[in-house]
Structure formats: structure tokens, C-alpha cells
């Protein structure tokens, strides 16, 4: 409540810094915070990761069960992505069912994975129309310091990449690695006073006018985008953000390995 009101002094200060070409934490406009990725952090999940971007931290788990496919995709596995903004992560998060923020977050992460065909869902069909693998990707935000879109997306991708299909436990032969076709990477930038800042910190997000998340695949092609917040972007700004996402996405993809 009280904390979500940004003081005018703080807002003016961030604006002034940006006008001078600086950021609060001294980064360049297109510089990501430090990324740390740990995988296989939870044994009870088929795949898991704990990811930090600066001080933002998330834990992601993939659980797989055998179930029925959707009627319109009888020969494909099912992907279900869910994000929990638990009150542990921020004084501004509250307990309760997912709100619009966590639903948007989960859907944007889901779209990047789904539209890039990262998971080869056809290979997760056991018996067409009857039995397929259901993938639950559950994201928990543990510590919130801005840019949840990229942290959650990175966490989900790392967890999926580390997952082992539990075939044996389900009487379906030997376990095998999750079938993966590519590694989608999302890069988010915000527009503040007509400047573009990549990987916004919480302070920057609070004063941002508009946000754009761009998810690219290994070829640098676009797979998902989401514009957020109540400000606007020019087409030139959008182009810059896309170009930056492609460039930084390739770097992040190397970190994921």
C-alpha cells in the first residue's frame, strides 16, 4: 500500500538520471543484471530451476502426469503454465487466488514456450486421443525486484530443459529427457520518458510508462510479444526493443546452455 506509492522525489530522480543517460544502478540501457541459473533443485519435480536476475528470484518446477489430450489436439501432450506471486516475494503481494498480474505473467511465459514449440508436444503423445503427457509448469516468485516476465520465462525454460519424462514410474518404458526443439528467450524493456531500458528493476518498473516483452527463438525470429502498462510506444521504439531482444536473447541462450 504505502510502499506502492512512489515518492515524487524518487520519480523525478529516476527521470533526471535517464535524461542524462544513466540508470539508478549504473547499468547501460541495454545491460541485463547478473543472471544465475541452478537446475535440478527439487527432486520431487521432473524438472526444476532456481533463477536469479539481479535480486529477482524465482523457483520453477515441471510435474508430468499421464492424462487425456484435448479433443482438438488428440496427438499432442498438454502444457499448462501457472505463476504464483506469493507474499513471501514482496510486501505488495497478497495471499489468494492468482490475480490479473499473475495470470498475464503465466500466459506470456506460456506463449513463448508454446509458440516456439520448445517442447515437442507430438513426442509426448502416448496413445492418440487417449493418453498423453500433461506438463504442469509451476512458477513461484520468491523475491521480487522487477522484470518478472524474463525471470519467470528463463526459469520455466531452464526447468523444462532439465526435465526427465517419468516413463518408468508410469509403466511406459525407460525414462527419457524432455523432447526439446529450441530455446525461447524473452527480453523485456520499458519506456520511461522516451528512453528505453532493458531488464527494468523494481524502481524503474514503478515509474515506467510502457513495457514490451519480446520472445525470440534460436533463429532470432519472433515467437511471442506482449505490450503492457498504460503508456504508448512508437514503432521505432518497438523496433529497437525487438532488435535488442534478438541480440541479448542470443547471449542469454548461451548462459542457459
Amino acid at each position: 500500500m504505502a510502499r506502492s506509492i512512489v515518492s515524487e522525489i524518487k520519480r523525478d530522480h529516476i527521470h533526471k538520471l535517464i535524461a542524462d543517460g544513466h540508470r539508478v544502478d549504473g547499468r547501460a540501457w541495454d545491460e541485463l543484471r547478473q543472471i544465475q541459473i541452478q537446475t535440478n533443485v527439487v527432486e520431487t519435480a521432473e524438472g526444476s530451476s532456481r533463477v536469479k536476475i539481479g535480486n529477482t528470484e524465482v523457483i520453477v518446477g515441471v510435474k508430468m502426469t499421464v492424462g487425456e489430450p484435448f479433443a482438438d489436439t488428440p496427438d499432442r501432450g498438454v502444457l499448462s503454465t501457472n505463476a504464483e506471486l506469493i507474499p513471501m516475494a514482496s510486501p505488495s503481494f497478497e495471499s489468494g487466488p492468482p490475480d490479473e498480474n499473475s495470470i498475464e505473467l503465466a500466459r506470456v511465459v506460456d506463449r513463448g514456450i508454446r509458440e516456439s514449440h520448445m517442447i515437442d508436444l507430438e513426442k509426448l503423445c502416448i496413445e492418440p486421443g487417449k493418453k498423453v503427457w500433461i506438463n504442469f509448469v509451476d512458477i513461484y516468485v520468491l523475491d521480487f525486484d522487477g522484470n518478472l516476465f524474463d525471470a519467470c520465462s528463463l526459469g520455466a525454460v531452464a526447468a523444462i530443459k532439465s526435465a526427465i519424462v517419468p516413463a518408468k514410474a508410469n509403466g511406459l518404458g525407460e525414462d527419457y529427457p524432455m523432447p526439446i526443439t529450441c530455446v525461447p528467450v524473452s527480453i523485456t524493456a520499458v519506456q520511461i520518458e522516451n528512453s528505453i531500458l532493458v531488464d527494468p528493476s523494481l524502481d524503474e518498473e514503478k515509474v515506467a510508462a510502457a513495457r514490451l516483452t519480446v520472445t525470440t527463438d534460436n533463429n532470432g525470429d519472433l515467437r511471442a510479444m506482449q505490450k503492457g502498462l498504460s503508456g504508448a510506444l512508437t514503432l521505432d521504439q518497438v523496433r529497437t526493443m525487438i532488435e535488442t531482444s534478438r541480440r541479448l536473447g542470443a547471449e542469454v541462450r548461451k548462459i542457459i546452455g
Binding site: S7, I9, K10
Partner: protein
């Protein structure tokens, strides 16, 4: 030099501080005739009182404290001020240096405005009133705000104000310190960055050795020569 409490000993909740001769001070409790630490902090003995100086925790307002507040709500005859504490503090129109008509509050102070104020009163249930009716108290504009643990404020000020004076001299910034852990500063953009880094050093290293020297080294490294003569 005051060396009444020599070494900085970390104590944890439940640690025995004294078993007979001393008197229980702040941050302690008594059980079965012994004095125990009631919180994590540094043990300090002053005039036969044993205290625990907290390293973190929230600011609890005390009448007379100079604080830096942020307006979070406006009523017809008062403002609600966040004082970086569990207790938001109303500021009544009678406690500001302006004549404010009923319902006209928003014209004087808006949501998100920052003020230098003083804690006027605190009742038993910690209902707080703040005032701006004293010389020097005012709305702060420009510059920037840093928030640190209120328990680190004495370290930022330093012995007889030495630490903050050093930071002011090197950086040429104007700096106001609120007892509640909010610090306001104004100066050139790069000077403010350096002042903020120095304050962060104190906030993060408040329990470490030779803090004054380390802060001085840092300031000398960013302001070579010419200013060190001033000190």
C-alpha cells in the same frame, strides 16, 4: 574518546547478558533474575545498564524525532504520512506552516510528496501525530531519497557528526537525515551517486571494523586530492 563499550559483541534472542550486577536496558528482558537479549543486535553496556542495539527492525516513532515522511493519503483536514514505520502518521492542518481551508489540503501537499517533519506525539497504542510547525521543517523537493535501517542512523551521523560531515564535505551535497532511516540529499547527479554509495557502505557494513576509514578511502578514491585538503 568514549570507549565505554569496547568490543562489539553480537547477541541473539535468548542469550544471557548478565546474571546479577547490571540493570536491564533497551532490547532486553528479565527472567528468573537474569537479563536476556530480546533481539538480535550488539551488546552495549552504559552506566551499569546492559542494552541490545538492534541491527535491523522497523522504526518505532518517539516524540521529538526528526523524520522524513511521504504523503500517502489526503483527507479534508489532514494528510496521512508514511514515516517508514508500521504506523502511518496523520498530519493535521493545524500542524503545518500554512493556513489551510477545510477541504483544501491537496493544494498544499499531494500524494507522493516528501516532507521533513517531527514526531509530535505517540500514544499508548502507538497512534502517532507529526508536525511541520517548527523552523526548518518543510516539504522537500528535488534531490533524492535513500532508505536505510533506522538502527544504522547513528553510524551514518558518526561520532559528533563526523561521518556525515565527511560525506558532505567530499560530495558537496546537502543532506538531511531522518531518525526513521530516510535520508534526503541534493547536489549534482554524480555527487549524489557518490554520497549514496557512501551511505550504502555504512548501511551494509555498520557492524564492521574501521568503517570511517573505509568510507574515507572510498571518498578519496572518487574525489582525488583537491578536497582532501579541506578535512
Amino acid at each position: 574518546m568514549n570507549k565505554e563499550s569496547m568490543t562489539r559483541e553480537l547477541v541473539l534472542p535468548g542469550d544471557v547478558l548478565d546474571a546479577g550486577t547490571m540493570k536491564p536496558g533497551e532490547g532486553t528482558y528479565v527472567h528468573d533474575g537474569k537479563i536476556f537479549a530480546a533481539m538480535l543486535g550488539i551488546k552495549s553496556v552504559k552506566s551499569n545498564f546492559v542494552n541490545v542495539i538492534p541491527l535491523g527492525g522497523r522504526y518505532i516513532p518517539i516524540p521529538g524525532d526528526m523524520i522524513i515522511g511521504k504523503v500517502i493519503d489526503i483527507g479534508p483536514s489532514n494528510w496521512l504520512v508514511d514515516i517508514y514505520s508500521p504506523y502511518p502518521a496523520p498530519l493535521h492542518v493545524n500542524e503545518v506552516p500554512w493556513r489551510v481551508e477545510f477541504g483544501d489540503t491537496a493544494r498544499y501537499l499531494g500524494i507522493g510528496d516528501t516532507l521533513l517533519a517531527k514526531v509530535l506525539s505517540v500514544d499508548e497504542t502507538k497512534r502517532v501525530q507529526v508536525t511541520m510547525k517548527e523552523q526548518g521543517l518543510r516539504k522537500l523537493q528535488g534531490g533524492q531519497i535513500v532508505e536505510i535501517a533506522h538502527s544504522k542512523v547513528p553510524r551514518v551521523i558518526g561520532k559528533n557528526g563526523s561521518m556525515i560531515q565527511m560525506i558532505k564535505t567530499y560530495t558537496n551535497c546537502r543532506i538531511f537525515i531522518g531518525q526513521n532511516g530516510r535520508i534526503w540529499m541534493d547536489g549534482s547527479m554524480s555527487d549524489m551517486v557518490h554520497a549514496m554509495q557512501a551511505i550504502k557502505m555504512i548501511d551494509e557494513g555498520a557492524q564492521t571494523l574501521k568503517l570511517t576509514e573505509r568510507v574515507k578511502e572510498f571518498l578519496e578514491s572518487v574525489y582525488p586530492k583537491e578536497k582532501s585538503e579541506v578535512l
